[in-house]
Symmetry: C2
């Protein structure tokens, strides 16, 4: 360009998010993002699957949605019908399922169908950053319900619903990640699920069940999905292949009653999600999913052990956490005076990326000394080194952990 650059500034509407910074690569020690274990990607089997399905059906890529309609590639929906029955107790048909471009698109479709600016929704007090950010941008109020070691507290949910009703507010949904909650990794037991369903009916507030980590429990067991336990269609269920196969594939799904499904289909104006990825997943998953997941979770469990060991060694008693029963992240509490937003900045400068607690919570003061550490992507060596660097940074910035943490831990152990 040789002339005065054209300026777009005066054309931008109010309320846009801040411009993005240029991408400069991932941190050397990256404990952020839902990235998976590179060694857990079943590359050879995916090559076999994609070869078989392309040779058989490749010409159908010439047609939007492979001519299978806007709800997605039928064999993938057929696999999901079997998988959801087996793993989550869900009885559904291919007509109740829509394939979407990652569960993030599922969030968008549910939100667009139910929410308007000024609405209120109910969340777990700590929750997924992507879900929180979407609602903040939409101008939707979030009421956070505290969790304990067994997920969302039903007494607190009952109180919140009663309070809101007294104020004349009907929340649009109860958003929950009941099975390996993000970031606390808790699992909501069956009796709480029954109680949540009862409260949902009582107050006429549907449940939005985000089950995207549910495949990753160490023992392969999980309670039935809320969707499975519902007798009335008061649950919208979403899931993903990001955590069980590979996040870069961008394939998720929604299970919902037709009343909601027909509305979400009308809002899905992208001419379908990526068909090749749907074809590969269907072809791969039908024979391999059941045996793949335990292999994947064994590797994840080993990395979690490395992370917990490293935290014990480097932070001693300064780092508190509950041992997760699945997933890819650990929710860690540091001493109260540590500000993890500041720690995040200082750590990043030292090559360590972490998720500061306030970004994963609707209660910023409570989560100010907390952080989320994702352990699936870094190698065991990177986990050990990264935690050591993080401890150094934290010590410099906040005086904890003390130098003696290592010794103290061993003395106590």
């Amino acid at each position: 360009m040789t002339s005065t650059p054209f300026s777009y500034a005066s054309l931008l509407p109010p309320g846009l998010p801040a411009p993005a910074a240029r991408f400069t690569g991932l941190a050397k020690y990256s404990f952020v993002g839902g990235n998976n274990d590179p060694d857990g990607v079943p590359v050879d089997e995916l090559v076999e699957a994609v070869t078989a399905v392309l040779k058989r059906e490749g010409k159908s890529l010439a047609t939007y949605n492979l001519a299978h309609g806007p709800q997605g590639y039928r064999p993938l929906r057929e696999f999901l019908v079997r998988k959801l029955k087996r793993d989550a107790g869900i009885a559904c048909t291919v007509d109740d399922l829509m394939i979407v471009s990652g569960s993030l698109q599922a969030l968008d479709l549910v939100n667009q169908t139910l929410l308007a600016r000024g609405d209120t929704v109910i969340f777990e007090k700590e929750s997924y950053q992507g879900s929180i950010n979407r609602l903040t941008r939409m101008g939707v109020n979030i009421v956070g319900i505290p969790l304990d070691g067994h997920g969302m507290r039903m007494d607190a949910l009952a109180n919140a619903l009663a309070d809101l009703k007294a104020k004349g507010i009907t929340p649009k949904y109860i958003y929950t990640i009941p099975t390996v909650q993000n970031p606390t990794a808790t699992i909501l037991p069956e009796d709480r699920r029954a109680e949540m369903l009862r409260l949902s009916e009582q107050y006429g507030v549907p449940i939005f069940e985000d089950d995207c980590y549910a495949d990753l429990t160490w023992d392969g067991k999980r309670p039935p999905a809320l969707y499975a336990m519902s007798k009335t269609g008061n649950v919208i269920h979403i899931g993903s292949f990001s955590k069980s196969i590979a996040p870069a594939l961008r394939v998720g799904f929604i299970v919902a009653p037709w009343e909601m499904m027909s509305r979400m289909l009308a809002l899905k104006t992208d001419a379908g999600s990526g068909a090749l990825e749907q074809m590969v997943l269907a072809e791969y998953c039908a024979p391999h999913f059941e045996s793949h997941v335990p292999k994947l979770t064994r590797g994840l469990r080993a990395k979690l052990d490395t992370l917990m060991d490293a935290l014990g060694e480097q932070f001693g008693t300064s780092a508190e956490f509950e041992e997760p029963s699945g997933g890819i992240f650990l929710w860690v509490k540091l001493p109260d005076h540590v500000d993890t937003l500041k720690l995040y900045q200082a750590a990043l400068a030292a090559g360590v990326a972490i998720n500061p607690g306030p970004e994963w919570s609707v209660d910023k003061p409570y989560s100010g000394c907390r952080l989320r550490l994702c352990f699936a992507s870094p190698s065991h060596e990177q986990i050990r080194e990264g935690v050591a660097v993080l401890a150094d940074v934290c010590r410099k910035e906040f005086g904890v952990p003390e130098r003696s943490a290592n010794v103290e831990k061993r003395a106590r152990g």
Copy 2:
């Protein structure tokens, strides 16, 4: 479900689109949608490409965006830099490019960055239905500029910009499909492009250039892109692999100055577009794109000939059209009293799907007797049979074409 179904009706915000109908399959004779020629999908080479790239880089699927950042898989952007230079004269770098989930996501990102309810934009009077519908839903006013055999008329554009300025209105962009316009298949010559750029600068209104059909000219030639001719960054350019490779893949791209790119990146909250499809395209296109496209367009050109022949045989002088110099659709005018919205319904009942003109135009009366026929997807036989059925339906509903059309045509030929 055994109990009273939960009702979502009272929770839905105002302004939602109507619920979708259940998918019941494609029409027997389908002349709608941007579907491509099934025989044009290079299946064997795609299998080779996906095998090579997965074996080499498959583990990187464990990381969002393959760790290449939110602008997409770098080798695909590198291919596009070379391709856009060679074919469209665009000089850009990988930093000026963002890979998106089909050019529909590009439309959404540009619209979200620039538009608010009540804004005004400029369109070609006939234009792509998907673009029109998006703006209608957003509450944006569209000013339509008439086309002639060489695309948008610059005298009319100059008048419209002056009129709007006199009313104190700055349109947010001039949306154009300059190279194989949809649905008229016209190509805007270089002198008009220069004039459009001049008007854009004069009025401070950027150009939104949708080049998604630009690869499909019969002779492989095309004028330089508006983006290439701009000296100031007043053009946002989008393109797609849907028409040149396969629509079900859902891979498109945006070329834009960083001022716009950084805003669109902030709005692209989908954690990246499908990575496997980006990998396959990069691996396939680098060696094969240049030889693939002429093979594809030869097949398309042959189908166009079949369609024009069939229309001549079945409709005689009742069907008027200009021979396109590329693309996958024919824009047809029937006698003035034919209502193609009604024809669409009657034809669909007879197994023939067409695009009624009013859905592809911002001037409904003008386009009421027009229709768009897509010819890439049906076979030659389906084209002949489908046009015959369409003529029968049209005759029954509107009295044209007359029975003698066939003879009349031959007598004139």
